[in-house]
C-alpha cells in the first residue's frame, strides 16, 4: 500500500507516494527524477547509490524510503555547487579522477563523511575507510590522490 513520505533532498522539500519498503534509490532517481544516486548492485556492495542521510553516508539501494521520512537527504548533486564545490569535488576535478564516473557517488559521498571525522587520515586509514566502494575503470591511483588533496596531505 502506497504511503506519502516526505523528506528534504539537496535542500528542497520532496514528497513521494510509494511502497514504504521501496528503496530510497528509486524514490530519488525514478520517482523524483534526480540523476544521482546511481543503481549499481541493489545489494549495498558497490557504493554507487550512496547519499547522505542527515549527514551520514547510506546505501540508498537497500534503505527503505520510509527510513528517510522527515530527514535531510544529500546527493552528489547537492554536495557542492559549480561556484562552491565540495573540497573533494574540487580535488576530483583537479586530479581528473573519473573515467566513466558512474561510481562517483560512492567514493565522494563516503569520503566526504570520512574526512569530516578524520580530517588528516593516513594512507592506510583512507584505504580502510573506502572498503566496499567499487570503481571498475581502475582510477584508484587518482582517487587516492584526490582524497589526499582534499585533506591537504598530498605531497608531490
Amino acid at each position: 500500500m502506497d504511503q506519502k513520505i516526505s523528506f528534504v533532498v539537496d535542500g528542497k522539500s520532496a514528497t513521494v507516494s510509494a511502497d514504504p519498503a521501496m528503496p530510497l534509490l528509486y524514490a530519488l532517481h525514478s520517482e523524483l527524477g534526480l540523476n544521482n544516486p546511481k543503481f549499481g548492485c541493489g545489494k549495498a556492495q558497490c557504493g554507487a547509490c550512496t547519499v547522505h542521510l542527515d549527514g551520514a553516508p547510506v546505501r540508498s539501494c537497500v534503505m527503505p524510503v520510509a527510513a528517510a521520512a522527515g530527514k535531510q537527504v544529500t546527493t552528489l548533486t547537492g554536495l557542492g555547487t559549480p561556484e562552491r564545490p565540495h573540497p573533494l569535488q574540487k580535488a576530483y576535478i583537479e586530479e581528473q579522477v573519473p573515467q566513466c564516473g558512474y561510481c562517483l557517488s560512492g567514493w565522494i559521498m563516503t569520503a566526504a563523511a570520512f574526512l569530516k571525522n578524520n580530517p588528516k587520515p593516513t594512507d592506510a586509514e583512507i584505504r580502510q575507510a573506502m572498503a566496499g566502494i567499487k570503481c571498475r575503470c581502475g582510477t584508484h591511483m587518482a582517487i587516492m590522490r584526490a582524497i589526499k588533496r582534499a585533506a591537504g596531505t598530498l605531497t608531490a
Binding site: D2, V9, D10, K12, A14, T15, S17, A18, D19, P23, Y26, H29, S30, E31, L32, G33, L34, N35, N36, K38, F39, G40, C41, G42, Q45, C46, A48, T75, L76, T77, L79, T81, P82, P85, Q89, I93, Q96, P98, Q99, C100, G101, Y102, L104, I108, R127, Q128, M130, A131, I133, K134, C135, R136, C137, G138, T139, H140, M141, A142, I143, M144
Partner: protein, 759 residues
C-alpha cells in the same frame, strides 16, 4: 489513489527544479548553433566524403568536430579537439566535439581496439587539414593574395606583413556549410580513412598537440550534473526488467501472469522464449520481475564442473586453428636441444562486471524511431535495435549517452535490443535496466584458455627453439558489436540463429629466436545460444590471457638459462631498437638490479620484482611489478608498478598517464581477483561478493610512468596496450619473491597459500 508522478511532483511542489535536458550529443550541437546554420545553405547528406560531415564553423568562429568513434572516459574527445585545433590553427577551447549520434556523425566504428586516436583521430586530422586548406583558399579569393602567402592565427587568416588584411573563419563560412568533398576510402567503421588535399603540420610546429588539456566533462560528472544513460527519461515510457532462466539452457514452459496481478500496472511481455515485465513505475517493474512465476523446462547440464574447465579445454575437439609465426624448424631444433623447458598456463572466464548493469531506452512507437544507448558502438547498436524492432535502419536514430564503462562488448549491447524489442511489443517507449545478477551473470564473457610454451636451449643457454600454443574459446561467440540480433540474448530468445566467429591470436612480441612457432586452436562454445558464458570482447581481447602465459614463460626460459630477465629480453630484442627501448627505459626507471633469481624472502612478507614486455598494434610497453607476498595469508599486493610506454606521437600526456594507470589497476584486478564461477547449470558469479574485483586497499602504492614520445611517428593506441603487460609482470615478481611459479589466474590468497605450501 494514483501515484504522484515525477511530472506531477515537479508541477505541484515547485520546490525542486530538474531540467529535462535533451539527451546526448544533439544538445551540444544545438548549443553550438549548428542546427540554425541549416537555414543558411543546404546541408549535404551525412556521408564521409562530405567535409560538412566532419567540421562545422559557427559565425563566431568556433569549431565543431563530428567524431564517429567514442570516448568512454579516457578523454579521446579531448585528443580529437587538440588534433583539430592544431590543424585548423585555432585555440583548443574553440573546438567542441560531438560524438555518438547517428544523425550527426559518420560510423567510424565506435570505441574499438584502442583506435580512437590511431584511426579515428587520423581521419579527423585529415578533415581539419582539408577544412583549413579550403578556408585559406576562400580567404585568398576574398583578400586577393595567393593562398601560400597567407597564415592563420587562432582562426584568423592574414597576410603576415599586413596584419590588418585579415578575415576570420567565422566571416568566411560561419553558420554555413562547406559543400565540399573530401577524399574518402569508401569504408565505414574502423577502416574509414580520409585524405586531405594538403599535408598535416610538421610536428615541430605543434602548439596544442602534446599538451595536457583536461576533460571538461569531468567537472559535470564530479558535480553530479552529467546525464547518464540511466538518467534518460522519455515522455510516456514504460520501465522494463527481463526474466532470465534459473538454469542456463532452460526455456519457459508457462508464465503465470496472475502471480504479479497485485502489482499496479505490471504485466508480462513475451515473444517465444523471451520474457520481460513492464510497469509504469520502475519499482513495480523490479517487484514484478522478482515475483513473476515462470515454469521452465527441466534443467540440463550444459557446462562442465568448474574444476574441470581446463581439462575440458585441453580435450575439446578444435573448431579452428592457425599458425601465426612459423620460422625455421621448431620440432627439429627441440629434438637437438641440450635442454627443453615446458610450461602450461590457465586463464579463466572473466566478466565485464560493469559498474552499472546494462540500460537502454528505445521508442519505436510512432514518429521518429529512437534508441538511447551507453554502448561504445552506438551506430552498430542502432543498426541492431532497428533490425530487432523491424524498423528500417536508416529510419532509426541512435544516440549515445554516457554510461558505466563498457570495456568491450558488455551487456549494454544486449540492453539496446531489449529496449527496442520491448518498445515494438508494447507500442510504448521503454527503458530497460538489468539487475546486478544479470549484469555480472549474463554479460558476454572474456574467454578462458590454456596456453603452453616449449623452449629448447643449447649448451650455452641460447634459445634454439621456441613454440607457443594457445587453446580456448573463440573471443567472439558474439560479434564485437551488436549490429545484428544474432549476436544478442534477445535475438537468440526470439529465434535468431547465432553467428559465432572463430577468432584467436598469439602473443605480440618480436623475440628473435631462430626457430619459432606461434599457433592456436579454438574450441566449441559450451552452450551455443543464449548462453551466460558466451564470449565476446572484454578489454584487450585475449591480451592479458596470452601475455600472462607468454611473458611468464619467457621468464621461465630466462631462469632456466641462468640469465637476468631484463638482460634475457634485451638479448632477443636487440634487432628492434624501439621494442628494446621500452625494456631499457623501464629497467632504468625502476633501478632494476641484474642477476639471476629467485631471491626467496625471509619472514612473513616476501618481496620481489618482475618484468614483462608486450606489443599491441604499434604500441610497445614494458612493466616492472613489485609485489609483496604474505606467507601466512597468501595475499599478493602488487605494491608498485613502473611502466615504459611508447605509443608513437603523444597528443595529451596527462590524459595518457591516467589512461595507463587505469589499465594497470584494472589488469591487476583481473590478475589477482577475477574469475567467473559456474556450476554445470549456470553462472554462479552474480554480484560483487561472488565476483570480487580490486578495491582501494589492494591498489598499488605507486605507478611510475615513463612516456616515450615519438612526434615523428603517427599516434598509436593507448586504451589497452598496457593492460596485457601486467599479469606476466605480477607472476614474475611473485616468482622472484617466493621461488614459486603461479601458472593459473586469478592469483588468489588461497591459491598462493596452497602453492607456497607445496613448494
Amino acid at each position: 489513489m494514483n501515484p504522484i508522478t515525477r511530472r506531477d511532483f515537479l508541477k505541484a511542489s515547485g520546490s525542486l527544479v530538474v531540467s529535462i535536458s535533451i539527451p546526448g550529443a544533439i544538445a551540444t550541437a544545438m548549443s553550438q548553433g549548428i542546427s540554425s546554420s541549416a537555414a543558411l545553405g543546404t546541408k549535404p547528406p551525412l556521408m564521409p566524403n562530405e567535409l560538412d560531415s566532419w567540421i562545422a564553423i559557427t559565425s563566431d568562429g568556433n569549431i565543431t568536430a563530428f567524431f564517429g568513434k567514442m570516448d568512454m572516459g579516457q578523454g579521446v574527445d579531448v585528443v580529437i579537439a587538440q588534433i583539430v585545433a592544431e590543424e585548423l590553427d585555432v585555440a583548443f577551447d574553440r573546438v567542441s566535439v560531438v560524438m555518438g549520434d547517428t544523425a550527426l556523425t559518420c560510423n567510424q566504428g565506435g570505441a574499438s581496439g584502442s583506435t580512437g586516436t590511431q584511426l579515428g583521430g587520423m581521419a579527423l586530422r585529415q578533415a581539419a587539414v582539408e577544412a583549413r586548406r579550403v578556408l585559406v583558399e576562400m580567404a585568398a579569393k576574398r583578400i586577393g593574395v595567393p593562398p601560400e602567402q597567407l597564415t592563420v592565427e587562432n582562426g584568423t587568416v592574414m597576410v603576415p606583413d599586413y596584419p590588418r588584411t585579415k578575415v576570420t573563419y567565422g566571416e568566411l563560412i560561419g553558420g554555413q556549410h562547406f559543400n565540399r568533398k573530401i577524399e574518402w576510402n569508401k569504408r565505414f567503421g574502423n577502416p574509414l580513412a580520409l585524405k586531405a588535399g594538403a599535408k598535416p603540420k610538421d610536428p615541430s610546429r605543434h602548439k596544442v598537440v602534446g599538451k595536457s588539456f583536461p576533460q571538461k566533462v569531468i567537472t559535470d560528472k564530479v558535480l553530479g550534473r552529467a546525464q547518464y544513460i540511466t538518467d534518460v527519461r522519455v515522455e510516456g515510457m514504460l520501465h522494463a526488467r527481463v526474466i532470465r532462466p534459473p538454469s542456463a539452457a532452460c526455456t519457459p514452459v508457462a508464465v503465470d501472469e496472475s502471480s504479479i496481478k497485485a502489482i499496479p500496472g505490471a504485466r508480462v511481455v513475451r515473444e517465444k522464449d523471451y520474457i520481460a515485465v513492464v510497469a509504469e513505475r520502475e519499482w513495480d517493474a523490479v517487484r514484478a520481475a522478482e515475483t513473476l512465476k515462470v515454469s521452465w523446462t527441466a534443467p540440463s547440464a550444459p557446462f562442465p564442473p568448474m574444476e574441470k574447465l581446463y581439462q575440458h579445454i585441453r580435450e575439446a575437439k578444435p573448431t579452428g586453428q592457425g599458425v601465426e609465426v612459423n620460422k625455421g624448424n621448431v620440432e627439429a631444433a627441440l629434438k637437438n636441444a641440450a635442454r627443453v623447458v615446458q610450461a602450461e598456463y590457465e586463464w579463466p572466464l572473466q566478466s565485464h562486471a560493469s559498474m552499472g548493469p546494462g540500460c537502454a531506452v528505445a521508442d519505436v512507437s510512432g514518429g521518429e524511431a529512437r534508441l538511447w544507448t551507453g554502448s561504445q558502438k552506438p551506430h552498430f547498436a542502432r543498426d541492431g535495435a532497428a533490425k530487432i524492432a523491424g524498423v528500417p535502419v536508416e529510419k532509426m536514430r541512435g544516440t549515445w549517452v554516457m554510461g558505466p564503462g563498457c570495456y568491450g562488448r558488455n551487456d549494454a549491447g544486449d540492453a539496446a535490443q531489449d529496449a527496442a524489442l520491448l518498445s515494438k511489443l508494447t507500442g510504448r517507449p521503454v527503458r530497460v535496466q538489468y539487475m546486478r545478477h544479470e549484469g555480472t551473470g549474463w554479460d558476454p564473457k572474456g574467454p578462458a584458455g590454456v596456453f603452453s610454451g616449449r623452449a629448447g636451449l643449447d649448451a650455452s643457454g641460447k634459445v634454439v627453439a621456441y613454440a607457443f600454443h594457445g587453446k580456448g574459446f573463440t573471443r567472439q561467440d558474439m560479434a564485437t558489436n551488436e549490429s545484428d540480433p544474432r549476436d544478442t540474448l534477445a535475438g537468440h530468445l526470439i529465434g535468431f540463429e547465432p553467428k559465432p566467429t572463430i577468432i584467436f591470436q598469439t602473443p605480440a612480441e618480436v623475440y628473435d629466436f631462430e626457430n619459432k612457432r606461434h599457433s592456436w586452436e579454438t574450441i566449441p562454445p559450451l552452450l551455443d545460444r543464449a548462453s551466460p558464458l558466451r564470449t565476446s570482447h572484454f578489454r584487450d581481447p585475449l591480451g592479458p590471457e596470452l601475455h600472462f602465459a607468454s611473458e611468464s614463460f619467457i621468464d621461465e626460459v630466462a631462469h632456466a638459462a641462468g640469465v637476468d630477465p631484463v638482460a634475457f629480453r634485451l638479448r632477443y630484442l636487440a634487432h628492434d631498437a624501439r621494442h628494446a627501448a621500452v625494456v631499457k627505459a623501464v629497467a632504468e626507471k625502476a633501478r632494476w638490479r641484474a642477476g639471476p633469481n629467485p631471491n626467496r624472502g625471509e619472514g612473513d612478507v616476501m618481496t620481489g620484482r618482475g618484468v614483462a614486455y608486450t606489443e599491441r598494434n604499434g604500441t610497445v610497453v614494458a612493466v616492472i611489478a613489485e609485489v609483496e607476498v604474505e606467507r601466512s595469508s597468501g595475499r599478493v599486493w602488487a605494491r608498485r608498478f613502473t611502466v615504459a610506454h611508447d605509443c608513437g606521437q603523444i597528443i595529451n600526456p596527462g590524459g595518457l598517464k591516467l589512461t595507463i594507470e587505469g589499465n594497470i589497476v584494472q589488469a591487476t584486478s583481473r590478475t589477482l581477483f577475477e574469475e567467473v564461477r559456474f556450476d554445470t547449470q549456470n553462472v554462479a558469479s552474480v554480484d560483487w561478493a561472488s565476483y570480487p574485483i580490486l578495491e582501494l586497499a589492494d591498489a598499488p602504492e605507486a605507478v611510475d610512468i615513463v612516456l616515450i614520445n615519438r612526434p615523428e611517428m603517427a599516434p598509436q593506441g593507448a586504451g589497452e596496450p598496457s593492460h596485457r603487460t601486467v599479469p606476466g609482470a605480477i607472476a614474475n615478481a611473485i616468482f622472484d619473491a617466493t621461488g614459486v611459479r603461479i601458472r593459473r589466474v586469478p592469483i588468489t590468497p588461497e591459491r598462493m597459500k596452497a602453492a607456497l605450501a607445496r613448494a
